[in-house]
């Protein structure tokens, strides 16, 4: 008897739910595709990586000027996804790096969010350069973001 009731309940429920789920799943949220002024990487023919700028919620043509649009910053060579060290000599504290030899401090640390950055080993905040002044938990100075 109880199985009959259970089955009946399940069928009733399924019938009631079909329109409910149909209605709710139709209410999926949307948003703008992109925000004006924001940039996305794009390929340039044989040159460094370029950036397309968002306007009217869509990205425009690829800017291959070699700079990040809206800034004076160089766009990078785009040859790989890894950060190349392009410092003139040894990279200063906070610069992107791939190995210890890239850095004037001789320490390239892998930060969770920033990737490889030149830093200094420390025990107390006083060991760190003035622009950092914070000794992180891994025994290396924090990089100001």
């Amino acid at each position: 008897m109880r199985w009959w009731k259970l089955t009946l309940g399940a069928v009733t429920l399924a019938g009631a739910l079909a329109p409910t789920l149909g209605a709710t799943t139709a209410c999926r949220s949307t948003g703008p595709r992109c925000y004006d002024g924001e940039l996305v990487a794009c390929d340039c023919d044989g040159g460094p990586q370029g950036y397309a700028t968002c306007a009217a919620e869509q990205y425009g043509a690829c800017d291959c000027s070699g700079k990040i649009p809206g800034t004076d910053a160089a766009a990078g060579d785009g040859s790989s996804g890894k950060p190349p060290a392009t410092c003139d000599a040894k990279c200063p504290f906070g610069a992107a790096c791939t190995k210890n030899e890239d850095c004037a401090t001789n320490l390239c640390n892998q930060y969770d969010k920033l990737g490889g950055r030149c830093t200094v080993a420390c025990k107390v905040p006083g060991d760190c350069p003035p622009e950092s002044n914070k000794c992180g938990g891994k025994g290396v100075c924090q990089i100001p973001q």
Binding site: R2, K5, L6, G9, A10, T12, L13, A16, L17, T20, L21, A23, T24, T25, C27, R28, S29, G31, Y35, G37, E38, L39, A41, Y51, I68, P69, G70, T71, A73, A75, D77, G78, G81, K82, P83, P84, A85, C87, G94, A95, A96, C97, T98, K99, C108, Q110, Y111, D112, K113, L114, G115, G116, R117, K134, G136, G137, K138, G139, Q142, Q145
Partner: protein, 734 residues
Amino acid sequence: MRRALLLAPLLSLAFAASARADEPSRAPAAADAPEPPPPVVKPPPKEEVSEVRVIGDRADSFRRIPGAGQRITEKELERAQPYDAAEMLRRVPGVVARQEDGGGQRFDVGIRGLDPGRARRVLVLEDGIPISINPYAEPDLYYAPVIERMRGVEVVKGSGSILYGPQTIGGVVNFVTLAPPRGTRAAIDVLGGDYGYVRALANYGDAYGPVRYVAQVMHKEGDGFRGEGFENTDAFGKVAFDTSDNGELTVKVGVHDDVATSGDVGLTQGMYERDPRRKTLKPNDRLHLRRYEIGLIHEQRFDVDTKLQTLVYAYETARVWRRQNYSRSPAAGQVYERIVGDVRRTNDAIYMLHSNTILDRTYDVLGVEPRLEHRFKTLGLRHTLDVGVRGLTESAAYQQRQGDNPTSEAGALLLAEDHRTYAVAAYAHDRVGVGDYLLVTPGLRVEYATFRRKVGRQGAITDAADVAQVGDSASSGVIPGIGSTFGTRRAHVFAGAHVGYAPPRVTSAIDPRGRDQDLKPERNSQYEVGTRLAPYKGVRFETTGYMSLFTNQLIAGSDAGATLIVNGGATKHYGLEAATQLGIGTVMHLGFDLDLTGSYNFTHATFRGGDNAGNYLPYSPLHTGTLVLDAAHPVGAGLQIATTYTGYQYSDPQNTQSDDGTGRVGRIDPFVNLDVGARYKHAASGITVRLTVKNLLDDVYVQSRRPEGIFTAGYRQVMIGVRYDYAAKEKKEP
């Protein structure tokens, strides 16, 4: 049959003895006099199986706990139809619970001004078993209790928390899961809402002779309010059976799988101003968590005054979190996958790198805890003595890899390390009845833990190398406490004092080179005094004043975006909690339930020294409050309106008022949550229909600036649900 016949008088005696031990020996004639001991009759049918409760369901449960405590009942859960556990916890005075996207499977909980980040300062249990990923070395709550499993929640904040550990600085939150029924019960429940939200669950329970069981499967998924889609599947089962005439074993097993888009970077101030409903900046970030658990609770009653309860549990939490790397400023020569925000505005742009970081971690916990309860009398004093020991070992295996693209799950191995903890704890807790009205409960807990950190690989992307760095550390704590209540169960005052203890995190206690940093565990001194009044049926008031003094509180800091635990220095917390429950329908004989419950909390938590002396602790709002009005008519119709107020708070120890553009620091303005729900249950068919609107105001606000930037909440969500319940007549004891 013979077992039951033997058991019935034993249980009767146990109930009577319990009453003798804890209740006054004689019953004065006054109206608010202590309850007389229950008559020695056959005990009522036992619905609950052997389980660990920090408060319990007895009428005088609150008088028996030495300090402040609150209980969320099954009825309250049914009526509220919570989206997640945080929604219910924020109704408890003194508790700050931050909801997070991802279907409610992660949340932050703080008690009495403590930093709520990942509930690190709160001991969270499920059926008395800890659920944090590593209770000693990394007490973070990446698996939040699935509220659909629960039939109740208990919160203890006073010295009663020393029965549980290792964390005793904040309080204990115990989630109580569904109990195996005595007869056939089944339910099918489907819920759908906007933002693509769908939840379906089915459970079934039954009893065959002395064996009772319940099983439940639930799946939910959605697009998330901020474009952070999620899929959760949870299954659990419980079986309870007799192991002897006076013994019972409950076995619980569970599996939980949770996949969600989960970014660690929130909006900058400029982005928030342009569009507070902006979706996640990191759609490629994904967190996958899988948890397996098994718990055994055995209860052996030796005589009417003595029982031994033994917990054995093990669980594994595997968590893989991939997060796209980023920078807040352009670095020379760097290439970016995207740049979000305005590059011309200070601190507004975030430069997303092509690479990602994959944090692949597996945590295991194994614990054994026998606990003996014995009632006896000495010198005219009635004692209820709890003594227990707990052995626990936990391990963690970390791997950190760097992938070449934002969705990589593989990557190059940069870091590998293992952690191992061996811990032992012992405690004794004696509830002493003095005369008719006074209960005094002294207690002592001793904790000792050894930690080992073994780093097997570390370095940057091109020079990561295998290493063998091993470090050991140890921590111990003696945690005394005393609490007392004076009065009857209808009206009593309580007071307590205890030492709070929290072991240091292993990654802080031992540096990456394996050196013991000699970090001390966190300690505080906690004091509270309060009163509870229940003058009429359905009417209850509770107020508590408290103070907590830390010599050095660890707080969450940040290192280039990674959350770090740093020394916060001495802090002082004091405040007032008040809760009321008015059964207006009962008191006024309206013929239907009309319940008004409310709570208010004032918390003043500040730094006592150093550069931040006088500043408020981060994420500690000065005022919080809740008001819930629920009406339930016997025909089956019901309505609930619930509102919560959270006062202003700061995101950093410096109490920075204005945002610096990054969204990471600045005052967080007060916000209000308003939820409404209507329900109708057709008793004859067992069908219940529900309409629930969470955050009716649809007023999106800044909820948090953590881990990195502004995270919003307050999105209105309309949900429609249908449930079918089947309950056969309960089977009699054979």
